[in-house]
Amino acid sequence: MENYDLVIVGGGPAGLAAALSARADGISDILILERDDRLGGILNQCIHNGFGLHTFNQELTGPEYAARFISQVIDQKIDYRLNTMVMDISHDRTVTAMNPTDGLFMVKAKAVVLAMGCRERSRGALNIPGFRPAGIYTAGCAQRLVNMEGEMPGRKVVILGSGDIGLIMARRMTLEGAKVEVVAELMPYSGGLKRNIVQCLDDFGIPLKLSHTVVSIEGKKRVEAVTIAEVGADRKPIAGTEERYECDTLLLSCGLIPENELSKDCGVELSRITNGPVVNDSLETSVAGIFACGNVLHVHDLVDFVSTEAKNAGHYAAEFIRHGETSYNTIDIRCDGRVRYTVPQTVRPEAMEDTITVRFRVADVYKGASIVVRAAGRELVRRRKQIMAPGEMEQVVLKKSDLGDADSIEIGLEEA
């Protein structure tokens, strides 16, 4: 059995930033375990620009953003192993992994950072009726084929779901000569960022049909046509609104799910809303010494926010390595339902930093509502927002000095 102070599971943006932050905090003994054949994670296939506006004040592409972190990890001589699949993380922070060089190996860590990212919701999870021909891809799978492997998945495309990767791929496939017929979105609002709708759909005249879904897929060997229909408020198709599109490809961009099989097996408590671990203000999960950051914790809109969060996780993991397990009173942050969830879900009023950022998403589109935070009957924050939507992550800052002896914090939305 090998020993490391810190083992980081995942070498994408979250894992890299967590490693660099722990190193900056004086932890020398760090190991990153990465499943792919290179560091950088999904950023390597995100060749579009728009990354790094917050972190570097520059608009970078995904691979460029990743390279800035990778070169620092190499300069800092932080250990990493590629092609390495983590099989198990135990409650006492023993990490079991395997790769073609070392075979099966175990590492005992003083602290672990979970940075495994997320997966795309697949056709199987969506219950789309019809045959099961070739030509149905998740948007991210198509992105990898086009941007890394130089292969076009198809020529005539329908996209279901208006998540950012789907919008980005609508543009990408169009530039590569494909005809993107339509993007259908089940909800009455888009799941993607506005700028992507403008730059990826409007620029190319690709229609976005809100409140629409796929009702049938034709073709036995290869997709031949897809029929979409409008849905009512109950999200059920409305008879008579069907439109048939001849196409050879259906891309799915229907949401991302944090990849937490390892966390679950380890006994880490997961949130039913985020599908990620429940964490306190130090991003520590319910298992002592195991921290989480990035898309494995909750799905982010911007990699810049992943980097910031991961930097905190690396810092708190370093603190844990130095001081070991501590025990503080923990209070819950309760959501009113219009605020769907927060990360972190709990805070330790005595141990928390002077200020912490609480990130959250709202359940619907709200115009002119105010974000209101209360604790111990006092109003701590009231901020009016012109508009809030589920596709855009929101945040509030909590001050330690405001919490006093509160036994919970309530966050919600109120009219005006």
């Binding site: 290179r38 390597n44 060749i47 579009h48 592409t61 691979p63 460029e64 390279a67 292969e151 855009e392």
Partner: protein
Amino acid sequence: MERNLTCIGCPMGCALTVTIENGEVKSVTGNTCKRGEDYGRKEVTSPTRIVTSTVAVEGGRDAVVSVKTASDIPKARIGDIVKALGTVKVKSPVHIGDVIIKNVCDTGVDIIATRED
């Protein structure tokens, strides 16, 4: 002529209507703030974009290497630039920042690599 746009200045996403007469912007309506008007004017007079794509690479780790225009180019030239990229094949090794095409399509802008191949 009227153009309907979605403002990308902030998450509001105002639905803008820009009225153009003889190639001149007469009015921008539907915006909530000044930024909407500015975006509307620029977008109908001289819209620009960064183009990101890939070019084939020989002997590299992947079949293609990612590239971008080093700065923004007129939106109308996107098609020409992508066409030009389709004819290029570079040899490994390629490093981030390497110039792949100088002054692509006479835009005065270079195509540079964005990934180590």
